[in-house]
């Protein structure tokens, strides 16, 4: 549960005269589902990556629950991100993909298994836990990517065009599924599309 505040957030790349992101100010309330919409190349993804901590912030401030996050590394921000390409670890099973982040946070054994199972249950992945990503369909992979984020129970959820690789029918159903999940979890979400 968190409030995300962007204050005059900017991103300059060296060698480019125009900023990639120019002084964006925005507040995402606790439990809010914020959608950033715009043409490709307008800086939505860059903004999201700055919030995630994957890009340095050139100017401005990023606050999560009133704590300045500019210099805090990605791994300590307690944010989960779903990537457009899903970025599933190809050498791990679905279970290990979902457990990867939890293991790093010292969760293991029965507790780990319980959390992975519970998450898999909610998004219908239980039958696929022992499969590797290459043996899954596009929609299933997308759900693994989502599950990997949900299982961590993060303060903030970032979604970078998570539906663009799905076909139209699947996109509609996944989108409503996503809204339902967000309501259930009550987590702050920023969605770029």
């Amino acid at each position: 549960m968190a409030i995300v505040q962007l204050k005059q957030l900017s991103k300059y790349y060296s060698g480019q005269s125009e900023p990639a992101v120019d002084a964006v100010s925005l507040t995402v309330d606790d439990g809010e589902f914020m959608v950033l919409l715009g043409p490709s190349g307008c800086g939505k993804s860059t903004t999201l990556r700055m919030v995630a901590g994957l890009e340095n912030i050139s100017a401005g401030e990023l606050l999560i629950d009133d704590v300045l996050m500019n210099k805090i590394p990605a791994k300590d921000r307690d944010i989960a991100m779903v990537f457009q390409s899903y970025a599933l670890y190809p050498h791990m099973t679905v279970r290990d993909n979902m457990a990867f982040g939890l293991r790093r946070r010292g969760i293991k054994g029965a507790e780990l298994e319980r959390r992975v199972r519970a998450t898999a249950e909610t998004i219908g992945l239980t039958p696929y836990l022992d499969r590797k990503p290459h043996a899954l369909s596009g929609g299933q992979r997308q759900r693994v990517a989502l599950g990997r984020a949900i299982v961590r129970n993060p303060k903030v959820f970032l979604l970078d065009e998570p539906l663009s690789n799905l076909d139209a029918a699947l996109r509609v159903s996944t989108r409503s599924e996503l809204v339902k999940q967000q309501r259930n979890l009550g987590t702050t979400m920023i969605y770029v599309t």
Partner: protein, 276 residues
């Protein structure tokens, strides 16, 4: 009509493959046959089938001609070199492929440009350096040289492969809380394993056969590697062809076994688990 055409093309293919197999495997079979014949038998008729199979020549080579020592020397030098090459090469390649920093391409170019020097140019300088540091005529010295000569190619091959791995994978691992070094071990190494195994096979074959550096940098008979052992049978006046063939067979068998085992793994790795 259609079947006959298919049969013709199949026959032609089979014929072509047979010819190629004979061409590729012929010298190997010939050497293998010579390895169980004595030199006088070979001089009498180089291409004849063995009349008696002198398997004892292998024992002779192994025990009387110090091949056991050469074999273990080669094994130690090559295994340690290949392990070092894989670890250092993969770390360097990961760094060059994954991080944008000033001078990235310069470092890459400097590492890779050393490939243009033929060994004959560097060997005298290397000899002096090794003598200076007390590494001449030692396995450690030879291992260091082997690692440095094979590193450019290793980094080149691995960098090419690692650079094609999607950045999202690494970003995802960062979001999952992993440090740079952990990401290297848990993502780059397992995902890049097909490329790492390829370089391991190439390096093993190349270093197992390496002659020039070994002959210059090793002088003690007890420290020699296999290619030098084979050379021992090449005298000034008389060449012990039979024993050379035996020695070559002893040297080549491990490579064939390694290749047979690893190449299957290699194909498995290549076909399994595309990224998306």
């Amino acid at each position: 009509m259609l079947i006959t055409r298919q049969m013709i093309s199949q026959t032609l293919l089979l014929l072509g493959l047979s010819l190629y197999t004979a061409y590729a495997a012929g010298p190997f079979v010939w050497t293998a046959l010579m390895s169980v014949r004595t030199t006088s038998e070979i001089s009498a008729d180089p291409y004849a089938w063995p009349e008696t199979w002198h398997w004892s020549k292998y024992l002779d080579a192994w025990y009387s001609s110090n091949y056991a020592a050469y074999f273990w020397n080669s094994t130690i030098v090559v295994v340690v070199s290949v392990i070092l090459l894989s670890v250092i090469g993969a770390l360097a390649a990961h760094c060059l492929a994954r991080y944008r920093f000033r001078g990235n391409r310069l470092v890459y170019f400097v590492i890779f440009s050393t490939i243009i020097f033929p060994p004959q140019i560097t060997i005298i300088a290397l000899f002096q350096v090794l003598v200076e540091y007390g590494l001449f005529n030692s396995h450690i010295g030879l291992i260091l040289v082997y690692v440095s000569i094979q590193l450019p190619l290793t980094v080149f091959l691995l960098e090419g492969f690692f650079a094609r791995l999607p950045q999202d994978l690494f970003d995802a691992a960062r979001m999952d809380g992993y440090s740079d070094l952990e990401i290297f071990w848990r993502i780059t190494v397992p995902v890049g394993m097909p490329a790492i195994i390829t370089t391991m096979i190439l390096n093993t074959i190349h270093l197992w056969n390496e002659f020039l550096y070994a002959v210059v940098l090793i002088t003690d008979d007890d420290k020699r590697t296999l290619p030098l052992g084979i050379q021992k049978f090449m005298g000034d006046r008389l060449e012990d062809t039979g024993m050379i063939a035996t020695g070559m067979m002893i040297a080549v068998i491990p490579i064939i076994i390694i290749y047979a085992v690893f190449s299957e793994k290699l194909i498995q790795g290549m076909t399994a688990g595309a990224v998306k």
